[in-house]
């Protein structure tokens, strides 16, 4: 194909005067929305599958506005977790290595998770960390408040990058928690009051769930085994593990029938510990471990579906084993 001189000049002019725009750098006008003519659009929130954004149309006394809501889920996170009793006083150390996949469209800027009491939060360079008390316990069987531990960075993890060094210490054992991971795109600004009524409710729901959930081992099982081992302390720890099953059932990480079998075995171990019968408790905990191993083995046969999620199996096996070794 032959390019004429005129076509070349037009191409150069276009390249010179056009301003590159990306989804992360929209026209500031769109951040604040645009005012529409009355009746130009219906109030509501509409998802655009092409852009992955939401168009929010809402009324305020001043008029009808339309604005784009950029969800904070345009990331592709994976989290690798390492944990063990390597901390001060044999407390558990939890470390997380976070990757933002190459397909991500936003930097990964926020990581947060609800946990039992933790301390000694560590953070990678350039990141900030926080451990805030006073949050609702996600476990319906527990009344005590929990902490929100998290890290944030204004730069974040760019698509394709991995950052390690997130972590904390805790006396408590791992359970399955949901790490909430967020990216950050353009920030939407609303006219006075913002959306009301049904649109506001929908927007609240949208913003509350505007994160990518990632299942990971986090300290959720109260550990009552201290420096001086007591059978009562061990029984307390196993009771706390037993309470965690309701959470696993709510998250649909374990089949109810299998959960019942495991909790019965735990109950037998707890009863034995209450009678200071360590031998019997050890035997029940061994059964507990074998049952989990067999369930995992069932999945490998490819003929049966495992009755328990892998992360759940990993933490339950670890917790049972931890108590068993202390006996």
């Amino acid at each position: 194909m032959k390019i004429t001189y005129l076509q070349l000049v037009i191409a150069i002019l276009l390249a010179t005067f056009s301003h590159p725009t990306t989804s992360a750098d929209p026209d500031p006008g769109t951040l604040m929305g645009t005012m529409l003519q009355p009746g130009a659009a219906e109030e509501g929130i509409v998802y655009d599958p092409a852009s992955g954004n939401y168009t929010v149309t809402y009324k305020v006394p001043d008029g009808l506005y339309q604005v784009v809501y950029y969800p904070r889920t345009k990331i592709a996170p994976t989290v690798e977790t390492t944990y063990g009793p390597w901390g001060y006083g044999r407390d558990h150390v939890y470390s997380y290595r976070v990757t933002n996949g190459a397909k991500a469209q936003q930097p990964l800027t926020n990581i947060r998770v609800l946990v039992n009491k933790v301390y000694g939060s560590v953070k990678p360079p350039g990141w900030n960390g926080d451990i805030a008390p006073g949050f609702k316990n996600p476990n319906p069987t527990q009344n005590s408040d929990v902490y929100m531990a998290g890290w944030y960075s204004f730069k974040g993890i760019a698509p394709g990058d991995t950052v390690a060094g997130f972590g904390f210490e805790s006396r408590d054992l791992p359970g399955v928690g949901t790490i909430e991971i967020l990216g950050l795109g353009p920030i939407t600004v609303y006219a006075e009051g913002g959306p009301g009524g049904a649109v506001r409710k929908e927007l609240n729901k949208l913003s509350r769930n505007d994160f990518v959930p990632y299942l990971a081992p986090v300290p959720l099982i109260y550990n009552f085994i201290g420096s001086y081992f007591t059978t009562n302390g061990a029984a307390g720890t196993l009771t706390s593990l037993q309470d965690h099953f309701q959470q696993l059932l709510n998250m649909e990480l374990i089949e109810p029938v299998f959960a019942e079998r495991l909790t019965k075995t735990l109950s037998a171990a707890i009863d034995a510990l209450k009678l200071s019968d360590r031998q019997s408790a050890r035997s029940h905990l061994e059964d507990f471990r074998v049952m989990i191993d067999e369930a995992q083995h069932a999945e490998s046969k490819a003929t049966l579906e495992a009755p328990i999620n892998k992360v759940a199996a990993r933490v339950l096996r670890y917790d049972g084993n931890y108590v068993e070794r202390k006996l």
Binding site: P28, L31, M32, M35, Y58, K59, V60, P61, D62, G63, T109, N110, R112, N128, D130, A132, P133, G134, F135, K136, D145, M148, G150, W151, Y152, S153, F154, L182, L184, P186, I187, T188, V189, Y190, A191, E192, G193, G194, P195, G196, G197, R200, N204, S207, R208
Partner: protein, 436 residues
């Protein structure tokens, strides 16, 4: 005994009886004598009196005179005789069927509506003095009859507070019963009426209690399965019913605004006096006022209330408050030189935050979310007028708030409200949604 002797004894007895009556009347002048003329004077025509010319006017004047007279005494004679303490607080003339007006059959006949006076006492007693009577007949109510409100289970919160309840929620079952205070026994089957009223200037609202234009229910609603009150009446805060054997059970649905709601109880089928706690405390407990931080590291200000119709506007739950302090404390480190200012949060007991003082707020207004002590407006300073297109200052705030479980919504004033179109003030409406 001869017949003559019998007549003598009868006349003597009548004389002594009359003497006793007259003595008694003299002791309680003005109370026991309706007829101004002695019967003997009437018989011989020596006593003329307005009673015989214009009885209605006379009765009214006489009733007032007797009432005033009884009020001036420490305790009226008839009341004292009947075991009533105190003075009558009001009176009323009652006219019955026409009949013979004169006291004695020997007076000349005079017919007209038979009058009577009823004296009413503060303890609920009433005395009925008919024209034909010398002594009033008193309908005595024991002073120990009381109407008492209580929770069905457990004790009231205090001597004043019956129970506390969060806005828009319904209390546990409450009980109204009529008791004999001395014996503590329940007096069954009493018709009662409960009425609600809002205590002025309570709950942080310092504007008019009632707004006839707005239909928002500010009193709440009393409900009982055994009530005779129709639903429409219930909306306006009244409840009628019968206490049955064990008292009348009811519940209270709190209104959206917080405040003190007083229940006034009365008996409609007999006298009773309300005792005990009568106030419903509507609001959210445990809220704390946001305090400015003077820490050199983490200073932040608390702005005055944005509404003149309310006392304080920066109340938050304890946990929300500590998270707010944490957020504010983190922010200067993230953005040196920029300081946070805490704007309106919730009223002192939370509940409806009617910023304009009209007991209503449009659903679209973000103040509709300032009702639980979990939402707060935060201004990012040093200058309120920030360029909204520069998101650099917003990013740290958003990142920190996100990690504290907060939902952040940047807001700007509508362009029509702005004097300077160039700068559009941005502030953050922050809702701390994970706090219990």
């Amino acid at each position: 005994m001869s017949a003559r002797s019998l007549v003598f004894v009868a006349v003597l007895s009548a004389f002594f009886m009359m003497h006793a009556v007259v003595s008694n009347a003299q002791d309680c002048v003005g109370e026991c004598q309706w007829d101004p003329c002695h019967w003997q004077q009437r018989l011989n025509g020596t006593c003329a009196h307005p009673l015989y010319d214009d009885p209605n006017t006379y009765f009214e004047e006489e009733a007032k005179r007797r009432f005033d007279d009884m009020r001036t005494r420490e305790t009226s004679c008839s009341a004292r005789r009947n075991g009533i303490h105190g003075k009558p607080s009001s009176y009323k003339i009652l006219y019955g069927q026409p009949g013979l007006l004169c006291v004695t059959p020997t007076s000349y006949p005079f017919f007209g509506p038979t009058p009577a006076i009823e004296f009413y006492y503060a303890d609920g007693s009433r005395c009925h003095l008919s024209y034909m009577s010398i002594d009033p007949v008193c309908d005595l109510t024991p002073l120990s009859t009381k109407l008492l409100l209580s929770p069905l289970e457990g004790d009231p919160e205090s001597d004043q507070i019956l129970t506390s309840i969060e806005p828009s929620k319904t209390t546990n079952t409450l009980l109204v019963k009529v008791i004999n205070k001395k014996t503590r026994e329940i007096i069954p089957n009493v018709d009662i009426k409960l009425e609600l009223d809002v205590t002025k200037d309570s709950g942080g609202h310092i504007h008019a209690v009632h707004n006839p234009i707005v239909t928002t229910n500010t009193k709440g609603k009393l409900q009982s399965p055994n009530s005779q009150t129709t639903p429409d009446e219930a909306i306006f805060g009244t409840l009628e019913g019968n206490t049955g054997d064990q008292g009348l059970q009811f519940t209270y649905e709190a209104p959206k605004p917080a405040g003190d709601i007083v229940i006034t109880g009365s008996c409609t089928s007999q006298y009773c006096k309300q005792i005990g706690p009568n106030t419903l405390w509507v609001g959210i407990k445990g809220l704390r006022k946001a305090q400015p931080s003077t820490s050199p590291l983490y200073p932040y200000d608390v702005l005055p209330c944005g509404s003149a119709k309310h006392t304080e506007c920066t109340y938050l739950t304890g946990k929300a408050n500590s998270l707010l302090a944490r957020l504010a404390g983190k922010f200067p480190g993230a953005s040196p030189g920029i300081r946070l200012r805490i704007g309106d949060a919730s009223l002192e007991r939370a509940g409806l935050f009617d910023i304009g003082g009209g007991w209503t707020i449009p659903a679209s207004h973000h103040y509709a979310q300032h009702h639980q002590g979990k939402a707060v407006d935060i201004y990012v300073s040093p200058i309120l007028h920030l360029d909204p297109t520069d998101i650099d200052y917003m990013m740290p705030f958003l990142a920190i708030a996100t990690n504290l479980g907060m939902s952040v919504r940047p807001l700007r004033l509508a362009p029509a409200e702005l004097e300077d179109q160039k700068f559009q003030p941005i502030y953050f409406h922050v809702y701390i949604w994970r706090v219990s």
